[in-house]
Amino acid sequence: MRVVLAEDLALLREGLVSLLESHGFEIAAAVDNGPSLLKALLDHRPDVAVVDVRLPPSFTDEGLQAALEARRQVPGLPVLVLSQYVEQLYARELLADGSGGIGYLLKDRVFDADQFVDAVRRVAGGGTAMDPEVISRLVARGTRDEPLGRLTPREREVLELMAQGRSNAAIAQALVVTERAVTKHTANIFGKLDLAVSDDDNRRVLAVLAYLDRS
């Protein structure tokens, strides 16, 4: 799997390169600024891009802008955005085109290599990887109102994991329950929120995110 990587801190860039390479990814390009990121994304058309939000030369949200621009030109180009902080505003912009293949994680998540690599794979496969912090803030805002407030605590946990982009199997593993139990919870959630049930993981995540975003 070919990856384009953008990170301006050399130490972290090297770390990410060796982490990804050791998990069998091929680094197509590793860049350290916004303009060359956009060029690399359009030239290499990687299977997935891992991008830091803040990049030179302006040290603002240059990485995010380059990623969004690349996705405008290459719809559905999978991008995993890393940042020192997560903002709902940026999550919203990343998800706006509704085509999946989007990840938005805190840089700390790299500490847990397995989960991080899993997230990269998921995004590369057209799935979603949203940071738990984005999701919990979204859900916290929504729970003041019906019908999100009607979910049981367990169902809310499942909803949060689902919104992060996890599959049923992964959710079952995280909550230490059977997959059948998770399937039952998701059916309940979709019933209470009045959403159409979908077997496709990706479409399911987008439906949930769109629902949360609405409130």
């Binding site: 603002t60 902080y85 903002e87 505003l89 919203r92 840089k107 700390d108 805002r141």
Partner: protein, 424 residues
């Protein structure tokens, strides 16, 4: 409409000449009594009365002629001496304020000036109406009783009632006077406004004095605020991230020792250290957010406000119209002001919804925050509004609060600033 209203307004300004003349004589009398001490006690309250009347003038002129006149008086000192020394200081301070003498000049001159400016149209119209009255028969009555009068150049005597030429001239003149009165009203009111600004407005000296006072206040507040902010950051770093890094270093040392003896324990400690580093990162992140929120740095105040609106527990709608970005310090002040107002709304107002409007008009960044809460907000009682006012005061910004009991609460901020062209 203004043509119809201006003469009447001018007449009312003319009526103010009566209290002005009374005040002028009282003031002069008070000063003449200075030699036997009574004057020293008498002058300050009379001057306060005078300033009150001048404020009425400024207000009416501002509303009716559109000429805005600032208060010119030198600021009061922060502290006054006790007893008679304080009274004396007050007398000297008020008497040495150039605005006081300009007020006195106004009291003496305005009763005459107003007759030939603002009040003139009303009298022209009144004279016009008198002319119509003469033509309609009153002239006949006067002449019939053997009286003699002139309307303009038209003699009203003898058989005026049976002389169509004289009556015709009277009607023409009366029409001219009435029309002139109405037509000249707004213009003469404007002339009066400029005359008002000449004497009632600040001179260059008092304008500078007021400006210096404002700058001194806001500067010392800004310095205090930034010093306090630095202390807070230092404390947060010291108790938070720094302490955690020390602990992590110590744990890593312990792990080094344990690595061969007790690998299982070492593994446990490693996991702990990793958690510790994540916590330190979290704390640093919160600290950075408090110093300068990332979205504010990335995108500017409009998107930063949108971003906190998304995280806010209340439903917040944001409407922005900014063609560029203000200077970073202004952006930061505006952002933290809005953030504080939102916190207030969530804590005190009982509101469900908040509307924020951000736009750039006439060289001002204008922000309006409206909530549908119970209202009754004040500057007092730890609402933090005073603090916001101080902070934006550094940039000559002003804050207006409108919060009737029962709501809604509307807070308006205005910050003069320039915009840089948008990032391309």
């Amino acid at each position: 409409m203004t043509r119809l209203r201006a003469p009447w307004r001018g007449f009312r300004l003319g009526l103010l000449a009566f209290p002005a003349m009374v005040l002028a004589s009282v003031l002069i009398t008070s000063y003449s009594l200075v030699a036997n001490v009574v004057g020293i006690l008498l002058v300050p309250p009379v001057l306060m009365l005078t300033r009150g009347l001048m404020d009425v003038y400024r207000d009416l002129i501002g509303r009716w002629s559109g000429v805005r006149i600032e208060r010119p008086y030198l600021p009061d000192p922060a502290e006054e001496r006790e007893g008679f020394a304080g009274v004396w200081d007050r007398f000297v301070r008020l008497s040495s304020d150039p605005a006081t003498w300009r007020d006195l000049a106004w009291l003496l001159a305005d009763p005459i000036v107003v007759l030939f400016t603002a009040a003139l149209p009303f009298y022209l119209i009144a004279y016009g109406i008198w002319g119509f009255g003469l033509a309609a028969g009153m002239g006949g009555v006067i002449a019939g009783l053997g009286g003699t009068d002139y309307y303009g150049f038209v003699p009203v005597n003898g058989d005026y009632a049976n002389d169509p030429t004289r009556i015709g001239f009277t009607i023409v003149l009366a029409t001219v006077f009435t029309v002139a009165g109405f037509l000249s009203g707004p213009k003469l009111l404007g002339v009066y406004g400029r005359w008002g600004r000449l004497l009632l407005g600040p001179t260059e000296r008092s304008r500078l004095a007021l400006r210096v006072q404002h700058l001194t206040e806001t500067r010392s507040e800004a310095v205090d605020a930034s010093a306090a902010e630095l202390r807070r950051i230092e404390r947060d770093l010291h108790d938070g991230a720094q302490a955690r890094l020390v602990a992590m270093g110590m744990t890593l040392g312990a792990i080094e020792h344990l690595l061969d003896k007790d690998p299982a324990k070492a593994r446990l400690l490693l996991a702990e250290t990793r958690q510790s580093s994540a916590k330190a990162l979290n704390e640093l992140r919160d600290l950075v957010r408090g110093i300068h929120p990332p979205v504010l740095a990335d995108r500017g105040v409009a998107d930063a406000v949108k971003a906190i609106a998304l995280d806010h527990p209340l439903k917040v709608e944001v409407d922005t119209d900014l063609p560029g970005r203000p200077h970073p310090p202004v952006e930061s002040a505006a952002f933290f002001a809005v953030s504080e107002i939102l916190t207030n709304a969530a804590k005190h107002s009982g509101a469900d919804r908040v509307w924020i409007d951000l736009r750039y008009e006439d060289g001002m960044l204008r922000i309006t925050v409206t909530d549908d809460g119970r209202g009754g907000a004040t500057f007092e009682g730890g609402t933090g509004l005073r603090g916001i006012e101080r902070r934006i005061g550094t940039f000559d910004g002003v804050l207006a609060l409108n919060s009737p009991p029962g709501g809604p609460t509307i807070v308006t901020l205005e910050l003069p600033c320039e915009l840089s062209s948008p990032r391309t």
